[in-house]
Amino acid sequence: MEIVACLSNKANLPRLKDYVGGVIFGSLFSLRFHYSLKDCREIVDYCHQNDLKAYIAVDALISENDKTMMYSYFEFVRSLDVDGIYFSDLGVINIARGYGIADRLIYEADTLMTNSLDAAFFIRMGIDVVAARELEIVELTNLLKKNSGHMDMQIFGHFRMSSSKRKFLTNYQKEIDKDFDVSAKDLRIVEESRYYELPIIEDEFGTRIYTDYIFCAYEELAKLRPYIRRGIVDDTFVNQDLFFDFLADLKKLDENNARYLRNSLLNKYSSAPLSEGYLYQKTVDKK
């Protein structure tokens, strides 16, 4: 398993290179990152000079009117010589083919990659896929084993729960006529009868909502890592000390020390909302 970090801060690169095999960054059409084109080049150069892989996220869904800009952007993406392109919109396959870089595609379909039929279909096309986050441990294990070496999964961080083209925060601000920064990164929503604090982000692509918890599984990861192509770690909304402690643990993680390492992290960051996500929490088609 190659550890791939979402590069929330370019300044983290020198520190990250000791822990990860690659980074994910992005500029236009990215739901995670908004680096300048100049920054993107510098990131790729730094990665390749330091034996890191550089992956670009082009993971926004693309409306028809944005396609012209997308085609121009792919000229730039091709020129970057990245090692992989995370995408979410199937139209990207067509665009990448046009630029001769379809062999670098990695399909990050959020919720949709939940079964071996779909995974196998894309893998046969030469496209690696990212497993959905809503899988419980047995089905995740089976899915990864069946497609061993071709599936990525998010192994640390808050999960993205929803994505909308609507600008919910701007709209709400207008509705209640109150001044606040809709682009702030520390906004949370809490349902009126529940306690989950859900991070919420708005930008030009719309609004995304994330889980209240930080996915962090040690023992399971120790067992699954031989089958995972890339393990994605995302430090968005996460305390940096916690994040780098987790990365340090990953370097020495095995099935024998997994429980000890996890308990140590839990003790050190007892107030952090660490969770095993859906691994032991099956979501069903309850009515």
């Binding site: 986050r133 709209n171 109150k178 009126e192 209240d212 309850k286």
Partner: protein
Amino acid sequence: MKKVELLAPAKDIAKAKIAVLYGADAVYVGGKSFSLRSRASNFDLDDLKEITHFAHTHGSKLYVTVNIVFHDEDLVGIKEYIKELDSFGVDAIIVSSIGLVQIAKTIAPNMECHISTQMSSLNSDAVAVLEGFGADRIVLGRELSMEEVKNVTMKSMLPVEVFIHGGMCSNYSGRCTLSNRMTLRDANRGGCAQSCRWKYRLYQGTNLLSSDDKLFSMSSKDLRASAYIEDMIRCGVASLKIEGRMKSEYYIAQVVKTYRKLIDEIYASTVPLSAERLAYYDNELSKAENRPADDGFLSGDCDNTKHLYGINGSGVTHDYVAIVRRYDANRSLALVEVKNKFSVNEELEVFGPCLDNTQFVNRLMFNEEWKSIEVANKPTELLYLRVPFAVNKDDMIRKVHTEE
């Protein structure tokens, strides 16, 4: 030019028949398995066979949703199910899995595969890729402007289907797991709890930003695209889709009939639809709406006026009071089944597949023992009403609201 298809939803056989009778060119339904809206999916295999036959004998098509986001455990029995649907003559399945398209094309090559809106197809490149994957039709995501719908449709080789009416996901369909987290009900396997319609407090750090008398919500107004039907027809959209597999027979009848008339008027006319005619159709549609509606992204952005704050779910209309089961023309007596409360001396309106809105005052009402009654307030009770004009089985009766 091939006439655009009007595609209606149905929760059960009775509603599917209503959709066909009131003018739908095609109906989409869900089976007991493999379908979203699991609460709406009341069709077992016998039902699916029956409704496919009914639709075909009335010149309509029948599509079956097989659109859950499959986990491996859900795939058990899927091949047999698809074979059964094909043997009934089902015209298409609506899917959100490319892997499933491959299976369906292998075992039922003549049955079409329509790509669900769950796959958020928003551009002509995505349509082209899906065509290469074996899809026969694409249901576009609901995030496109009319200009974008036109551009995608005109650039695409595959037929394009567009939602024109009904409830809207406020997040990209198929990519939302709010319900999973809040209730452990899988939004993408038929269990969506509509957590987007709930109310939330908004914080920055510990600072409360939201107003307690109007909490934050993602709830969307419903879609009503009546003003765009003419544009959609002219740019070559293949199918106009009504949302609402949970909706009542009254909703299905009123919305299908209104769009049927609107589409037919557009085709029959050589001039664009007038503002007065559009206002008439909007008024007709409003009779069945139980949430405020607007045109969604079709006119561009979705600002705060297109959201619902302070309203969690849908209201229930009680204007629909009865459905005609039989009519005795000699005695001008209609046998009706009561749906909601109504009284003698109220002004009522009848509409049906072959009857435009026609009003009468409910002067006389009897129960099945021929006892005169003043108030009908027992749902499913059969009553006789004096109706001074011919009505037919499956015509519907509603109250008339007069402005005071």
